[in-house]
Amino acid sequence: MIELTINGELVSLDIEPDTPLLWAVREQMNLTGSKFGCGVAQCGACTMHLDGRPIRSCVMPIASAAGRSITTIEGLGGHNGELHAVQKAWIEQQVPQCGYCQSGQIMSAAALLQETPAPSDAEIDAAMSGNICRCGMYGRIKKAIKSASDASTDDVMLDNAEQGG
């Protein structure tokens, strides 16, 4: 049995330890928002957060995630169903086309903004170039990240103001 936390919930899985995290999540947990694209960490469609950092779950054995905390696209928004700022920006900028890569793109973008709340173009390029969008929506992804980064800054300022007050 392998125990780990997925989207805030402690789960134990009876599973072969070399099974990639992606397939454990998709097939055992029935969380299908994270996608299979390449199986070799080349496309980013399977991106999840492991203790807050983005990882390619198609090449991470489930055993390596034991005792750690995983967030998938299903767990990115608030508990009340509210969308994450990145998801809101994705709708506002009308980013997805086929949509298949977008869970991974959003998870990479959310991790970037967590680490770097106001990223430069170069920082966005660096953080996002592991995620392929075959529909080619890179321009919109970049715009959405910038728009969410403004929103994040506002949130941060608001939080600070509240704490200060």
């Binding site: 072969e16 299908t32 070799v40 299903e74 949509g99 298949y100 170039s129 075959r134 080619g136």
Partner: protein, 730 residues
């Protein structure tokens, strides 16, 4: 595209062409009661084939096209809702079932018989094309046809017809003249008496009538929904939360997962498979020899994939086992030479007299171009879930041709089509790949071997890359002649392999003597339609060679083209717009270059100006300015997104795309050796839409063809190097 070939269309057209259409066609009659059995849910009222009204006055638009990111679901709904005067906030979409009643007959009609017909024969023509489409299993999303065919001929007409029926029903009950009843936001009003009713109140009454085939449509100035930039795609919210269901996400109780390894060389078969090593594994359910592939069925994908890797499979030998890309290309060139020698060519287009014109030319320019095979590389690898139980075959997949899948499965496995159910899902990319049905057949074959167990077949990325249906590799040869005044007087183009659309190699330029001719040069590599099909190759060829002629004439690419577009006012306007967007006459920094290309495809004209930067260690495509005239952009932001997408798709091919053959098999296997454009390589793209008011063109494909020549023309401008083979290797 399966059976959707030009030949099939022409055959369909020939069989029913001219007066015969009227003679054999059955008028479709009032189809709604029949259709209601297929699509009308509890409490829903199907008013006509494409519209359902719900008790809370919500509207469901039935769309016979699939959603693969091109935005067809939303654009179709906008067109219908516009004419229906619907409250857009209460409109949703339901995809039509894979059933012959929902065959996409407007596409067949637009293809064979694009003209408008008098109203009184419209119904008969519709009936004829419904029949033809059913015979051809045509329920296709492709050819950039959804908006311009189904949208124009079915969605708008249906919306307007239902609105008329609702008005008539209300007028009848209210005892007022229909002309006094007005509609707004899904409500009916009679201002004189102050009466007001929701559409749903008169839905039952309206559904009894067939409605007009030629209702009055709105003019552009009356549009409230079509053409609005702020309307958001209906499928996007589910695509940011992970809730959108793609084929690969289907889950059924007791489901097992299969994966396959097909014979690496196309045409080879499985001679033997040694599965001893895996048969004893708990997680492995079955190993199946499918003839041309071996499948492992297991508890999950990972177990199936691991077991597959342990199998010892021997594939049969074929005549192509030693074939490589170099030999295939040599074969093309030999066939081109031989066709000329033997006089075995097919004339594609001819005007004037090229031999005479070349004889009198004072300057002749010749060039040979080539492009490689390309895979589609949809982000979602091919997959299909199938269940065979009690003689009923049910599949869940993402396909561009649901009816084609249903009827092909019925035929292949000798099952009555009524016992085959296709549940289409969102497509994680299509680009033509999902118009083929190979993966559905494979999944069904496995499911029939293992009845009562749902089987989800998932191809690995490697399998997906190496068993695609590929954009053809091609060689194209050109000769251009100038007269003593420096005018281009002759254009000769020879190529091999012609698919569709027929006009792909034709040029818009005023060159008085033209000869376009081709031969066939078969390979064992399976062909499939790839975003814009023949346009993706010919636009690179013709728009590069015209640039060579411009250089030979001592003119820049923009002004040279402009001078040759005398008869094409629309194209001039698109070309001018792109040039203006790019500030064509302004100098660029040293080491930068600007290139232009224009191409008409799927009835949409697109011009692109590209700026490249060659000052660094590698080529950078910095900016793309794109002007596009599709007549009218129904969903402007969606259309813009399609241009952006088409550009990146074509740029990926121009910069990286190359499938090579070695020992008869595809060499590339995954994104490490079949790379895609990523964020860091992605240019800035600006799109300007021109609403010329001409007949509508498509959106999904026309953005792709001009980008490769615009880039290579820019490289020439920057460096003097003419790129004649893709991908660009600089």
């Amino acid at each position: 595209m399966g059976k959707w070939t030009r030949r099939a269309f022409l055959l369909g057209g020939a069989l029913s062409g001219g007066g015969l259409v009227l003679a054999v066609a059955v008028r479709p009659g009032h189809r709604t009661p029949r259709l209601a059995k297929l699509v009308q849910g509890e409490n829903e009222v199907l008013v006509n084939a494409w519209v359902k009204l719900l008790p809370n006055n919500e509207i469901k638009v039935i769309v016979p096209h699939v959603e693969m990111g091109q935005g067809a679901h939303t654009a179709m709904a906008m067109m219908l809702a516009e004419e229906l005067d619907a409250d857009w906030s209460k409109v949703s979409v339901e995809e039509a079932p894979a059933h012959e009643e929902y065959a996409t007959y407007d596409i067949a009609r637009d293809f064979v018989y694009p003209a408008q017909v008098p109203g009184f024969v419209d119904d008969t023509i519709k009936g004829a094309f419904l029949e033809i489409s059913q015979i051809m299993d045509l329920q296709i999303t492709g050819g950039s046809y959804s908006v311009r065919a189904t949208g124009v001929r079915s969605m708008r007409v249906a919306g307007a017809a239902v609105r008329e029926l609702l008005i008539n029903a209300a007028a009848d009950v209210w005892g007022v003249a229909a002309s006094e009843v007005r509609t707004e936001d899904s409500f009916l009003f009679h201002d004189g008496s102050g009466k007001k009713a929701a559409y749903i109140e008169f839905a039952q009454q309206a559904a009894k009538e067939k409605g007009s085939n030629t209702p009055t449509l709105k003019s552009e100035s009356e549009f409230k929904i079509m053409g609005r930039r702020d309307i958001q795609r209906l499928d996007i919210p589910a695509k940011v939360t992970g809730e959108a269901q793609f084929g690969i996400d289907v889950a059924l109780p007791g489901m097992k997962v299969a994966t396959v390894r097909a014979a690496p060389v196309f045409g080879a078969t499985v001679e033997s498979v040694d599965s001893q090593a895996v048969q004893k594994l708990d997680a492995v359910h079955r190993v199946l020899n499918l003839g041309d592939a071996v499948a492992v069925v297991a508890e999950g994908y990972w177990q199936a994939k691991k077991a597959l890797a342990q199998l010892e499979i021997v594939f049969s030998k074929t005549d192509n086992d030693s074939l490589s890309s170099v030999e295939i290309t040599q074969g093309f060139k030999q066939d081109l030479d031989k066709a000329v020698e033997d006089g075995q060519e097919i004339e594609d287009f001819s005007e004037g007299d090229v031999s005479l014109a070349f004889g009198a030319s004072t300057k002749i320019i010749e060039a040979e171009y080539s492009v490689p095979f390309l895979a589609h590389a949809t982000m979602e690898p091919m997959n299909c879930t199938a269940l065979f139980r009690d003689g009923l075959l049910e599949v869940w997949t993402g396909t561009q041709n649901p009816l084609g899948v249903r009827n092909s499965l019925a035929k292949e496995f000798s099952i009555d089509a009524n016992n085959v159910i296709v549940n289409n899902q969102y497509l994680g990319g299509g680009f033509g790949r999902r118009a083929d049905i190979d993966y559905s057949l494979q999944a069904a074959k496995i499911a029939i071997e293992l009845p009562d167990t749902p089987i989800k077949l998932i191809w690995s990325r490697e399998e997906d890359t190496q068993h695609d249906h590929y954009r053809q590799a091609m060689v194209s040869r050109f000769k251009g002649g100038f007269d003593s005044n420096g005018a281009v007087v002759a254009w000769d183009n020879q190529f091999h392999e012609k698919h569709e659309p027929v006009e792909a190699p034709y040029i818009p330029y005023d060159i008085p003597n033209q000869s376009i001719h081709y031969t066939n040069s078969a390979t064992h590599v399976p062909f499939g339609p790839w975003r814009s099909v023949d346009h993706s190759v010919h636009a690179f060829f013709t728009e590069s060679f015209i640039d060579e002629l411009a250089h030979a004439a001592g003119e820049d690419g923009y002004h040279f083209r402009r001078g040759l577009l005398g008869r094409e006012k629309r194209m001039i306007s698109v070309l001018d717009t792109a040039a203006k967007m790019a500030n064509w006459n302004e100098a660029l920094p040293a080491g930068w270059g600007r290139g232009i290309a224009i191409h008409r495809s799927f009835n949409t004209i697109v011009a692109q100006v590209v700026e490249v930067n060659m000052t660094g260690s590698s080529l950078r495509v910095e900016k793309v300015f794109c002007a596009a005239d599709a007549g009218y952009a129904v969903s402007p932001d969606g259309f813009k997104a399609q241009m952006e997408s088409g550009i990146v798709f074509g740029l990926t091919a121009a910069l990286f795309g190359e499938i090579t053959i070695k020992s008869g098999a595809v060499v590339q296997s995954n994104f490490h050796d079949y790379p895609m454009i990523r964020m860091k390589d992605s240019p800035l793209i600006e799109v300007e839409i021109i609403n010329s008011g001409e007949a509508l063109g498509g959106g999904g494909e026309p953005g792709t063809p001009p980008i490769a020549p615009a880039v290579t023309n820019a490289i020439f401008a920057a460096s003097g190097t003419r790129v004649r083979a893709l991908p660009i290797k600089i």
